[in-house]
């Protein structure tokens, strides 16, 4: 088993590293895919493992986006002037400034949302079930609307992020962002995987299965809930920061706090792949991205209809996702032991 795993990871790593060179035309697509996987993986910590369906992780994503860009600009130029009048004044970053700014920006984009998660976690994570879902939805939308009124980060005119400096070849920008997102993806995956192999995951699952009992058993559920959220916030913030630089133009409700698309999609991706598993969100995000891009090409004008149908089908017929469905059909392959007599004896209640 271990050997297989190492081969698998090595294969993926190699593919990941070579991808921008093998498929140069798809660099941006792959970068976006990496970011989507990060969002799905982190959502799974709340939604899949903990049973807290969050529609508000987009809050951290958007925060990260604005913070990264603001730091990157603010370190060298007056931020208010950069965004004034929709960005009329031109300031140019030297390559060193650009990368320095990016580095500090991403650092801040990871840390500040984490702190925010820690601060509001106590209040928000005290809500259960669909109240939690709705509250987080409200958070995400409120953030988008309110940030759309804040002048210093561009308000309605948007925030144009610093353009990539003129170095290297035409491919350099794409490669830079690709590797950035790939590295963040790997970090996220490693972090999530190692968290899952500890008692932490079991606690999250316990919370999902019956929070009151877990409390009764003496587990400080609030602590774990908050830590879980902080982990998600950390990587969502990073993802947001990268996306901001990749797109080049931050709009409060359409790009940053994109609740309608990214916010809901991260949920769907995790569900499509199978929530509650490690690889589920990864596969789900990949498939989802493929479907979406496929629809956009072949069903132009009907793409949302196709996507809507897909969502309905997934949600109704495959709520456990691909991994869940595979698990049902081949439980042995997932390491579950099934008692044949037991299985036959089960009666389905209609």
């Amino acid at each position: 088993m271990k050997n297989n795993n190492i081969i698998l990871y090595a294969a993926i790593l190699i593919f990941g590293v070579l991808a921008p060179f093998m498929l140069p035309a798809f660099k941006v697509q792959l970068s976006i895919l990496c970011i989507l996987i990060v969002l799905a993986l982190t959502w799974n910590i709340q939604g899949g493992e903990m049973g807290y369906n969050s529609f508000g992780n987009i809050l951290f994503y958007g925060l990260g986006m604005y913070i990264c860009a603001s730091v990157q600009v603010g370190m060298f130029f007056p931020l208010a002037e950069w965004t004034e009048s929709g960005g009329e004044k031109t300031f140019v970053h030297t390559p060193t400034q650009f990368f320095q700014g990016m580095a500090f920006g991403l650092l801040a984009a990871a840390i500040i949302p984490t702190i925010v998660a820690g601060l509001i976690g106590y209040a928000i994570l005290g809500l259960r079930g669909h109240y939690f879902a709705i509250c987080t939805l409200g958070l995400g939308v409120a953030a988008g609307e309110i940030s759309g009124g804040i002048e210093i980060i561009g308000a309605g005119q948007g925030f144009t992020t610093p353009p990539f400096p003129e170095i290297g070849s035409l491919e350099s920008r794409g490669q830079f962002f690709y590797f950035l997102s790939f590295i963040v993806l790997v970090l996220t995956f490693v972090a999530v995987k190692s968290v899952y192999s500890t008692r932490f995951r079991l606690v999250l699952n316990a919370i999902r299965d019956n929070e009151d009992k877990a409390e009764a058993m003496g587990i400080q559920t609030m602590k774990y809930k908050i830590i879980g959220w902080m982990i998600s916030a950390f990587f969502c913030g990073l993802a947001g920061g990268i996306m901001g630089g990749l797109v080049g133009y931050i709009d409060s409700t359409d790009v940053a706090f994109d609740g309608r698309e990214m916010g809901v999609f991260m949920v769907l991706m995790a569900i499509l792949g199978g929530k509650g598993t490690l690889w589920g969100p990864v596969i789900g995000a990949t498939l989802f991205h493929l479907f979406k891009e496929g629809f956009w090409t072949y069903f132009l004008g009907w793409q949302y209809v196709a996507l809507g149908v897909l969502i309905v089908v997934i949600v109704i017929y495959f709520p456990e996702g691909l991994m869940g469905w595979l698990r049902e059909k081949y439980p042995e392959r997932f390491g579950e032991v099934v008692d044949e007599a037991d299985r036959k004896a089960q009666v389905e209640l209609k």
Binding site: A25, A155, P163, T253, T286, Q303
Partner: protein, 411 residues
């Protein structure tokens, strides 16, 4: 086993990925010059996205049927690849990348709205792909030193500042009080900047400065404030929805202002569908059919208007007209460059100096069109029939500005 499945999924993923890209078009395929465009076919900008697409398509048909584009002794036809950017800047940037790197497009037509153009411009600039855009008017697009961006329309800040000057003029040269409501998006905020500058320039006062949300539905609060404060001018800009909502609610709430200045009146089909309510409204426009510009393809404004109506069953708003003009600019540039090399085409574009039915086109360093002024028209009604009549600048005026607007009680 899990391993196999996962590797299988990745391989099939690769396969689907590769197959989901369209055939790589080179810049020219056979006798077709391929242009790329991300257009808002869905989402909040869909109504104007459709106007833009219709404008592009009509021009392509017209040029192709009238001898096409002559480069290097051969004749070529235009063809446009469209993708739907869903009125979302992230999507627009993604699609620009896709058009250029996956579909191999080397010349782009702009999207609808400043916000989306701002998202796409860095992409086309990076790849050195000349883009002629017809619907992104934000001044900030032209101060970034983009070499590959060319805008046929006048910048946003020039939309309504003329209205303020007019108001001051009608006020005997004395400063006026201005109330404004602008949507929270790149274009409208830029129009606001122009108005603010005009206010400063004339020493006027800004008494209400509201920012309307993108999902604007109800301006009652702003209008109630306007009624309380009684400004000399009310300026509203909120794309089509803003114009419709404003006109309806101003009529309903019987708001009396001496001058009402808006944008997107013709896109909202105000005079046709809401004539009595929109009477006397001043509208900023990039173009009007009565203007006497001419060219060899569309003849003049009136002919364009009639032809468009025949094709699409509605009168063309200026968004369509300027989109058609973009193709004329490209044709002219290709022929002058006599090459398909991006840099040569770009240089030819930069040297453009032509007249189209839409207006004169000459690009400044930053890419904006410096030779085409905005016009202001006023909705004037004769009984139940309403029309837009150009009232400013005086050179193009076909009617005299009616000022102040008669109060509702007298209408």
């Amino acid at each position: 086993m899990k391993l196999n499945k996962i590797i299988l999924s990745f391989i099939s993923a690769l396969a689907i990925l590769l197959s989901s890209s369209t055939t790589s078009f080179a810049k020219v395929v056979g006798d077709k010059i391929v242009l790329g465009s991300a257009i808002s076919l869905t989402g909040k900008y869909s109504s104007n996205g459709v106007h833009t697409q219709n404008g592009y398509n009509m021009a392509v048909d017209r040029i192709n049927s009238m001898g096409g584009v002559k480069v290097g002794g051969k004749t070529y036809k235009f063809e446009i690849i469209y993708y739907d950017d869903e009125s979302n800047p992230k999507r627009a940037a993604q699609l620009a990348e896709r058009l250029i790197s996956q579909d191999g497009v080397e010349y782009m037509l702009g999207p609808y709205s400043s916000g989306l153009t701002k998202a796409i411009a860095p992409v086309t600039e990076k790849y050195g792909v000349p883009m002629v855009e017809a619907n992104g008017a934000s001044r900030s697009l032209f101060t970034k030193g983009y070499k590959y961006l060319f805008a046929v329309l006048a910048p946003a800040n020039l939309y309504l500042d003329v209205a303020i000057d007019l108001a001051v003029e009608k006020n005997g040269g004395k400063p006026v009080s201005v109330a404004m409501a602008f949507e929270q998006d790149a274009f409208s905020q830029d129009v606001r900047l122009g108005v603010l500058e005009a206010i400063k320039r004339t020493g006027s006062k800004k008494v209400i400065d509201d920012k309307l949300p993108k999902e604007l539905n109800d301006m009652a609060a702003t209008l109630a404030k306007v009624k309380a404060v009684k400004p000399d001018v009310l300026v509203v800009s909120g794309h089509t929805k803003g114009a419709l909502t404003a006109v309806r609610q101003i009529a309903e709430m019987k708001v009396d202002v001496p001058m009402l200045a808006m944008t997107h009146c013709d896109a909202a089909k105000l005079s046709k569908q809401h004539g009595k309510n929109s009477q006397y409204a001043l509208c900023a426009s990039q173009w009007h059919k009565t203007l006497t510009y001419k060219d060899n393809f569309f003849k003049d404004g009136m002919t364009y208007d009639a032809d468009f109506k025949k094709l699409f069953d509605y009168a063309p708003p200026y968004q369509a007209a300027e989109s058609s003009a973009a193709l004329l600019v490209f044709k002219d540039a290709f022929e002058r460059a006599n090459s398909f090399d991006k840099v040569k085409v770009r240089d030819a574009l930069a040297a453009t100096d032509m007249q189209t039915f839409y207006g004169n086109i000459k690009f400044a360093e930053g890419g904006q069109n410096v030779d085409k002024p905005m016009v202001l028209f006023q909705v004037m009604c004769d009984g139940d029939k309403c029309e837009n009549k150009v009232v400013a600048p005086t050179k193009w005026a076909s009617a005299e500005l009616i000022h102040p607007i008669p109060s509702w009680s007298k209408r």
